[in-house]
Symmetry: D2
Subunit: 371 residues, 4 copies
């Protein structure tokens, strides 16, 4: 049985002066494999990742570990506990509106000077030095005077410092009402086949503020900068956002399947020794991020969502009905909404009430089979 | 084809000075049957009643009507449009916290004087005069200086004035995540068998502020007051709160079934002539309101709801798991929650995140078969 | 220098499993005076009471105490930390809408049986036994299975248990934008003159769920029940809600004045020995609770509040302008709003944006000088 | 007396199917002066701009106009009516968190091709053609299929289309609790002296999504692009965000002063003929946008703001006290907060309750006198 240790790190203070803490669980491997960092619940309503971490811990304590693994449930103690009505209002800071998963720091600007200095170093040396730089710079940001750091940044930087220690970073999220899907950097496409997730978004080297990007962008930029200088390196870190399904829902059986999917990927990455976990034999579909399109409500009303999540819908098919009882006599009160192109329905809005322009659905378009 | 007319009544004004209006649809019968009033969506997230009104209109325009029928979707234009995050925050006034369905007026205090005056009048006379009194007094409340009426009262009184015109009042609601159930005044128990709803709450003559109570309490008090004076009258009005299922969900097929259930009841009440609608052959369970018990979360955590809604659970059965990842090492992180007595699970909380003391479930206890 | 001790009591758990705690500060007197309980910030935005408790502690540690004093800042750790936008949304439970200060328990039903039992006991015996009964019954409510107690009740009952230990209970609140005022039970009118508060609401023996009522109603009922049995007792407990001014504002200098006002009252009650605190020489105005009237916005719009808080306005005076720019051309866009009767303006709404029916002001009417 | 016309433009639909409309007021000049566009209340709580528009209309109808003037109060009918508790939650879309004033479109990408085409055209021709391009492209964005446009973009684009018709654009905002200040593009610095506003932020040619930027960035880029091609043009449009003071407050007398300040600027720009309005003789201070610094709460607690808004504070001065009653015994419960450098306090947070990292203040640093 592997030992699990717990540390509670402080990431802020609330108005009555009490500390905001996050529990950090750690298991140690024999040191031969890549280090792993997994967090969940950065967005308050996206709770299922906590159940996946539970199921991962239950499995991991019985496996042989090559790697150190860090697991962080309840990554955002503000979002997690912010109710508005019955639901958890945890997608953005209730004070500023800023999405909690857009506050990480992009360290890519460090690359250029680093490459100058380490152009001829060994791969191991580069990896170790660049990691130390990322961790150190994140710590430096945290060490600034307290009045220079806002609430969300302090949470994000504390998590990012932990994530930069790892070679593999998984940020567990969910959509509103959603099919499972994976945000995967283009360079790591091959790894996507080890997750039991049918829908894979391939994302470019562009920083938008999220943890996966904060984790891989500097390493991807590093690889590109070395390439420009004629040296061919691998991207040494992999980071994914794993979208587990729908928010506001705990399903322990499903969490076990998701844990197994992650263990299958970790087996592939040689984090686990003698591990039985294998990917499922399913067809996986890829979509470039630019082809992941939002479909906004073309009118206000009450929505019946008719596209099954994960369904491959054809151009012209009805994806929703919008009921407008204000106009029962003056126009057709039940308006069908059509999709214009072939697509896979990935997620839809969590409420049945929409303003004109509310994001109704997100679709994979121009999708393709991944091998 | 029956004619449907629309009127938009103004029930308030918002901060930019624009009017708040509610659409009122009316159909006329031949006058031989009891008048009907049906409204929906007093609570903002409880949208399915609008779809039921849509399906009712679609059916009613093809039927032969003995009665005038008034249908009011979007009964609460503030609640309906009040978002907080993705969800509709429409259970209570966002300014005061007052439940929108607790702001109707109890006219029962009018009964005593009325009985003195009309002790020997004919039943028809009594019905007509008492109705006129209720409508008139509601109008009088609305006619007070504007600065005496708060936002919710103005909406409620406008609706109540319409409801008092009717002999049959249906207020369409939903639970959070919920099985269908019916709030039925004890005296109208026999009518419950004409709805296709398995779960029936029998409520006493106590006013709590809701529309069904505001509609039937004065008439029930009237019947009791006459009885005390030795005259035996029927309760001349029936009013129900129909709980259609879960909030934040439009399901047109389900709405059609619910419309048929209501049409079956209206057929029984001779609102419809030559109507084919008959109640389904299902077992119905009754529960006294005092036995309708809330089960609060015994600890804070993330909840997996395991009791199926509508399920008859036995004392000692597990109804939920509460996941507490903060304490993975220090205690059992997955806590089963048990029910203490036999019960039917009627509804559960809409979110998977609960504080200690959040209402987790509501159960029928001491339930019985209704005939 | 008096010793101050701190205890943190747990009053709940939040969704990530962490405890909700409240700090309780205690100072011990020589036992000759009445016990005192003071709490603040039950409503999240009403923060000034914490500053008053700070100033009280600063003074009290230098005074000679006849009594034990318990002081509880941050009485509601949920309300205190519940933001929605920039402001603290802490007047009601964000999930249910229930006002946090309406969840205390009324123990008045215990009176009848108690009087039967203790009709001929000594005053001291009665006081001690009835207090033990109130504390014990509150504890019994807390000791019920956890699933029977909702979030707000658990907080309220924990505080109420502390309050029942005391002879003097002060619950520190604020209005939205408000002049200072005092909720004072009618029987304690004489005590009102020891606070430096110009506006005094005299409240009857009716329980509405608030802490002051929960504290004095049982004792007042006890006095009345004994009186009916021919025995004349004093009401042995005094409890007040002290409205300190406006919410969302900390003013340490003002807090010092308010602390001195409370110390003046405590001096009068012989809580403090050799205390220099004396009430200010100001005119105090009383108003019966039934004459404390809300003035709702007669139309929607943007409000300029023109009545000075604390001002004695005359019938017919303008108390606000409502700007309605939607109708600049079609009607007078700037509407004056008048008061119908002589009144003292006590508080007004916190926002400049109102719906028709939003509570604009609260006024003392039929007010009188208190001696 | 000048004629004022009103048009209501539809900018969306809410969930009950009702249209969202904005009132647009227009006055016609003799055509000799620059066209003017003024809007207010894009952020829901920032209501004072409506009062300024009221006062402007009252003045303008009596003046001689050289220019067409368009005035739009209540620019955001969602934000304006979105309550959460007592306050207006209108800084960001309650569903997405996106700031309503970050959804305008940057047309600067059109500049390069335009300059190629119009390099040798007359100034008038360039102005007319580029304006037509901006208006046309904005309309094209609005004419896309409805499902391509989100709620905030539809509101913003409708306003932006109106703004692009004008040579002078004023967007009336307020801070939370704030001194008056002006966002002024660097090239228009000279114009800042015609407003009666002491604090002027000089902003560079960088687009952040706000209306002032959307209005001037394309014209500024145009000027720069022509300059690169050797042709010296003026920037032909001026656009400002005018910060009127504090949110949630209507003050008609202050609004009249602000209207006069705007009329003084419009007099300078020859919008008004024979106008008596002159700027006040005050010292104005400038600050580069990069030197406008946020000061975040270094700890959680209750805040007393001690820096007077508009005050010139010196390095080391106390700007706030943070009260932490949770720690009365274990540390200094009243923590002074100091500023590190000389600064002008421009605004502070609206609430007295802060988490660690909440934006406490914004300061002008490295400020200078403007001539």
């Amino acid at each position: 049985m592997n030992q699990i240790s717990q540390e509670n790190i402080q990431v802020g203070e609330i108005a009555n002066g009490l500390p905001l803490t996050i529990p950090v669980y750690r298991m140690m491997g024999n040191g031969s494999g890549p280090k792993v960092y997994i967090q969940a619940n950065m967005h308050g309503a996206e709770v299922q990742g906590n159940a996946v971490i539970y199921q991962l811990l239950e499995q991991l304590k019985q496996l042989t570990l090559a790697s150190d693994i860090t697991l962080v449930p309840y990554a955002n103690p503000i979002g997690c506990n912010q109710k508005s009505g019955e639901f958890t209002l945890g997608r953005f800071d209730p004070i500023t509106g800023t999405n909690w998963n857009r506050m990480y720091h992009d360290h890519s600007a460090l690359v250029s000077e680093f490459v100058d200095k380490h152009l001829h170093d060994s791969l191991d040396e580069i990896k170790q030095q660049f990691r130390a730089l990322l961790v150190g710079q994140t710590q430096t940001l945290l060490d600034r005077p307290a009045h220079n750091i806002n609430t969300g940044q302090r949470i994000a930087l504390n998590l990012q410092r932990l994530a930069h220690e790892a070679d593999i970073v998984l940020d567990l999220h969910t959509g509103p009402i959603s099919a499972k899907h994976l945000y995967c950097p283009e360079y790591a496409k091959a790894s996507a086949s080890y997750f039991d997730i049918e829908h894979v978004l391939l994302i470019p080297d562009e920083f938008g503020g999220a943890l996966d990007e904060a984790s891989f962008c500097p390493w991807w930029s590093l690889q590109q900068a070395f390439a420009k200088r004629g040296r061919d390196l691998p991207v040494m870190v992999e980071a994914f956002t794993v979208e587990l399904g729908s928010q506001e829902r705990i399903d322990l059986a499903e969490a076990k399947l998701d844990a197994q999917s992650i263990l299958s990927y970790l087996t592939h990455k040689e984090v686990l020794l003698n591990s039985p976990y294998q990917p499922a034999n399913i067809t996986r579909y890829g979509c470039m991020l630019k082809d992941y399109v939002a479909y906004y409500a073309p009118m206000g009303g009450m929505v019946e969502y008719t596209a099954h999540l994960g369904a491959h819908v054809k151009a012209g098919e009805t994806i929703a009905h919008i009921l407008r009882m204000e106009r029962y006599l003056s126009e057709q009160p039940l308006q069908p909404v059509h999709i214009e192109q072939d697509a896979i329905a990935i997620l839809h809005f969590a409420s049945a009430s929409v303003n004109q322009g509310t994001e109704l659905y997100k679709f994979f378009t121009n999708y393709f089979e991944l091998n």
